[in-house]
């Protein structure tokens, strides 16, 4: 360890003819190192930087060199990882200068230095936090154009899954050896035709009586935070060769893919070594998404999807994925577009472009290059746009792709969803051929259709279940729903009575109660709601309201 005893060094150099005084100041930040802070030079178009390790008696140091991506002799690897906690930074020595990196990357460095490369020498590796000058927004945006080429050209893309806590990490080799049994478990369920997610499903012997920490280690592999990050989909999908690293352990990507696909831990009925049932939560996202996109890009599937189709599917699949800034929602997908085709998408990729501009350009590209007649996904994307409190500046037809509230709010379902429960009720308001065009300005979209009616009366909003913490809150919500419905029904009868074209009371009421259920009247078990069910509902409603009011007052 190098320790300097003063915070600064001043060096005077006196030339023969003239006096030059040079002050060589070190940074005060870390008193135990005497290395200067790393500074980036400017990259020319088409250039990237690559990291190579040097292990010496002084420890692990790194060299950062600038190269031309197009150079035919160039061979390199790339890293895919989550930046993780930004709270702590640690020092890395790069070109004999000091650089600060975050914990997850720092933990990867010794293992990256010892990768088995092709041939004898280790290939240099591309790591975004170090190889891109994160302080230079212009450079960041220019490097994004190269992502498709870069990850496709890398000899191997290494995925760093991060080290678990030491008491868990020690079980990682065991956890990896058990992954084939997770795969076996999934296959046996399929063969026995047991429905997926069916709880209390017995598991294969090899998974019984394990240390709890072994399960934690398996979850670390199969539900790693890495799967949740927006960027990783393009990084891993484009990789010609994909290898997973967890500490010093390598995991074969086919094994991991099969295990991720088979994993249904929350349905397992299995005891650990202490005799306790192991408890699992359901997964927050679908870890298969990355593998699915990779299979398409690597042409392992029988159908082809063009780039706009791919981006449309990704936009719909990734609403559960996370990224730290709104721009990353789109930038993290653009790597799937070939470098030479990026301009054709209309996404201008200027550092100063607002989120609204980026999202609008992206949505325009997706909606004009996918046909609303050829894919169900087109209208599903369109219907994402109607969340409340959208990001400022977005046109009404552009979804706020960064709004993750919808994943936690089951109440934000599209109208299509109401019809999907019963195939017979599936909605199709128009069978005409959909026509979408550009408008006169970037904020406009033109869709052919018919304007046919106007809203005259709006009813009070449906009550929301609020968490008051009181144990009467469920009863209060039920009371508010019953009161609300009674009010709506009374207003409805009054409003529709004064019509030019009179209908019978039965017809009016039928319009009412069918709408209240989105015409979805059949339940599991075969019961169907009818006009009589609603008569009973209205009769019972008043009684129940009184019962609840008395209950709450107590």
């Amino acid at each position: 360890m190098h320790c300097s005893h003063t915070d600064s060094q001043a060096t005077r150099i006196i030339e023969k003819d003239t006096a030059y005084i040079l002050y060589n100041m070190t940074t005060k930040a870390d008193a135990c190192h005497d290395l200067p802070t790393f500074h980036y030079d400017t990259l020319q178009p088409g250039q990237i930087r690559l990291l190579s390790p040097n292990e010496s008696e002084d420890g692990l140091h790194w060299t950062l060199q600038t190269v031309n991506l197009a150079s035919p002799d160039l061979k390199f690897d790339a890293l895919s990882y989550t930046w993780g906690s930004q709270a702590q930074t640690l020092t890395m020595v790069c070109n004999n200068h000091e650089m600060q990196v975050h914990h997850n990357l720092h933990s990867a460095l010794p293992h990256l230095a010892r990768r088995m490369g092709r041939g004898v020498s280790l290939l240099p590796i591309w790591v975004d936090a170090v190889c891109i000058n994160q302080a230079d927004n212009e450079e960041k945006v220019r490097q994004i154009r190269l992502m498709n080429t870069l990850y496709g050209r890398a000899e191997t893309v290494w995925v760093w899954l991060g080290c678990a806590e030491p008491e868990v990490q020690v079980h990682m080799p065991r956890a990896i050896s058990l992954l084939p049994h997770v795969v076996e478990q999934g296959r046996s369920r399929e063969e026995l035709k047991i429905p997926r997610n069916f709880r209390s499903h017995e598991v294969v012997d090899a998974l019984h009586g394990l240390e709890p920490a072994v399960w934690t280690a398996m979850l670390h592999l199969l539900r790693n935070a890495w799967y949740q990050r927006v960027w990783i989909v393009q990084e891993a999908a484009l990789a010609r060769d994909l290898v997973f690293l967890c500490g010093e352990n390598r995991i074969d990507s086919k094994l991991l893919e099969d295990a991720v696909s088979a994993e249904e831990f929350h349905s397992y009925k299995v005891r650990d070594v202490n005799g306790e049932y192991v408890k699992f939560k359901t997964s927050e996202i679908d870890q298969n998404i990355m593998f699915y996109i990779r299979a398409i890009i690597q042409r392992k599937v029988s159908y082809t999807v063009d780039t706009p189709g791919l981006l449309l599917r990704l936009a719909l699949l990734m609403d559960g994925h996370s990224c730290s800034v709104a721009q990353d929602r789109v930038l993290g997908m653009l790597g799937l577009v070939k470098t030479e085709e990026i301009d054709a998408t209309g996404v201008t990729l200027r550092a100063l472009d607002s989120v609204a501009t980026l999202y609008t350009q992206f949505s325009t590209y997706i909606m004009l290059h996918n046909s609303p007649n050829d894919t169900q996904f087109w209208w599903r994307y369109f219907n994402l746009a109607f969340t409340l409190n959208k990001h400022a500046g977005l046109p009404s037809w552009v979804p706020d792709l960064h709004d993750q509230r919808k994943t936690t709010n089951p109440a934000h379902t599209t109208i299509d969803h109401f019809g999907r429960e019963q195939q017979a009720v599936k909605f199709q308001a128009s069978w005409r051929k959909g026509t979408i065009q550009r408008g006169k300005s970037p904020d406009e979209l033109v869709i052919r259709g018919k304007l046919l009616d106007e809203v005259t009366l709006v009813y009070r909003e449906v009550p929301v279940m609020t968490s008051t913490g009181r144990d009467t809150e469920a009863a209060e919500w039920m009371l508010s729903m019953l009161e609300w419905e009674e009010e709506v029904f009374q207003n409805f009868l009054q409003e529709t009575k004064s019509e030019i074209n009179p209908r019978t009371i039965e017809e009016l009421e039928e319009q009412y109660w069918r709408t209240m259920m989105a015409n979805n009247l059949t339940f599991q078990g075969g019961t169907t709601i009818t006009a009589d069910s609603w008569k009973v509902y209205h009769q019972v409603s008043k009684e129940v309201q009184e019962m609840i009011k008395r209950e709450i007052q107590r």
Partner: protein
């Protein structure tokens, strides 16, 4: 659960209440032509009902800009009774209104 206490968990009444819970954060409305439906919360009188060619559901629009400019904001997808299943015909529909290019902003 709560419903069991007051109305029996298997009763039709309980089922109806479960369905209605799905309407949370939506708003019901009447229209000039006697239609009834629901859409995104925040819908207002004067908003326009539209059916885009090829769409699975109707949508509700709001005039934006000056009255003459004829540009619209989309408020939301909608359930409107009677409009959810169009005539199965690629060339024509039975909606009595002029078809037009609708400009969205």
């Amino acid at each position: 659960m709560l419903t069991a206490k007051y109305i029996g968990s298997e009763s039709d009444v309980a089922k109806i209440l479960t369905k209605q819970a799905l309407l949370t954060r939506r708003q019901l409305f009447n229209t000039a032509h006697g239609r009834f439906g629901f859409t995104t919360r925040g819908v207002q009188p004067g908003d326009i009902v539209c059916v885009f060619h090829g769409a699975s559901t109707p949508h509700v629009l709001r005039r934006a800009g000056q009255r003459e400019s004829q540009v619209y904001q989309v408020i939301g997808d909608a359930y409107i009774h009677g409009l959810m299943h169009g005539k199965i015909d690629l060339e024509a529909d039975d909606i009595e209104a002029e078809e037009q290019d609708i400009v969205l902003v």
